[in-house]
């Protein structure tokens, strides 16, 4: 069994703030507890694929824009 746990980085907090949702509102839309949103945003819990796709639907972005196995670069550093 592989014990190497890959850290999954996410941009849930940024995208949630961008569309003006609170943790509770996002939790209601995704069908999870609001504490789970906090755990995901802090990187303490990696969501299932099902939940990850729910987030992409809510944020209306691709899955690689929300989740990555490498740390996200700050948006300010991205070339337009």
């Amino acid at each position: 069994m592989c014990n190497n746990i890959v850290m999954i980085h996410n941009r849930v907090a940024v995208l949630r703030t961008e569309i003006g949702l609170s943790r509770q509102e996002l939790a209601d839309k995704a069908g999870v507890n609001y504490q789970t949103i906090g755990f995901i945003e802090r990187g303490d819990y990696s969501p299932s694929l099902e939940l990850a796709f729910k987030f992409t639907e809510i944020f209306n972005v691709g899955i690689t824009d929300v989740f990555s196995d490498k740390p996200f670069k700050p948006l300010i550093e991205r070339k337009i």
């Binding site: 069908g31 999870v32 507890n33 789970t36 969501p47 099902e50």
Partner: protein, 149 residues
């Protein structure tokens, strides 16, 4: 409620300690009473027995009161009615709690039965060790009945 407030590390030490101390004291005093001779007039046997009963009562009371709030989450036979309202992370946490509880209980029951039945007759010991083996074989039995195991 302050009693159930979690520390910065996320552990609920107060609740954990309150639920661990009474059973330890119950076992300690009950065990102590068994070593007290009956024939001596100044024996503390009954004091230790009564202390055991007091701590057992305290343990039962604390278990009922402190876990009542989470009864649908952690009491196995009630939790199935509330499973749909738990999200995936809560189910993972709950399953981890069950797994660790099972391991701790397997060790505790083995030690307790070994200590209690060390000098008992052979037939009683066979019954006890069958039960202990059954406890360790239970995951294999359950897994064999699951399609995805």
């Amino acid at each position: 409620m302050k009693m159930t407030k979690k520390s910065a590390s996320g552990h609920n030490w107060t609740l954990g300690t309150l639920l661990v101390i009474p059973p330890i004291l119950t076992l300690f005093f009950t065990n102590l009473s068994t070593y007290q001779p009956l024939y001596e007039t100044d024996t503390n046997k009954y004091i230790y027995e009564n202390l055991g009963v007091v701590f057992l009562s305290l343990f039962i009371l604390l278990t009922i009161l402190m876990s009542f709030r989470h009864r649908f989450v952690y009491w196995p036979f009630l939790s199935k009615h509330d499973r749909e309202s738990m999200d995936e992370r809560q189910l993972i946490v709950r399953n981890r709690v069950y797994e660790r509880s099972y391991k701790m209980m397997a060790i505790a029951i083995t030690l307790a039965l070994y200590g209690l039945n060390l000098n008992d007759n052979v037939m009683r010991q066979m019954f006890v060790w069958t039960f202990v083996c059954g406890y360790f074989a239970m995951p294999l039995i359950v897994a064999a009945r699951q399609k995805d195991s």
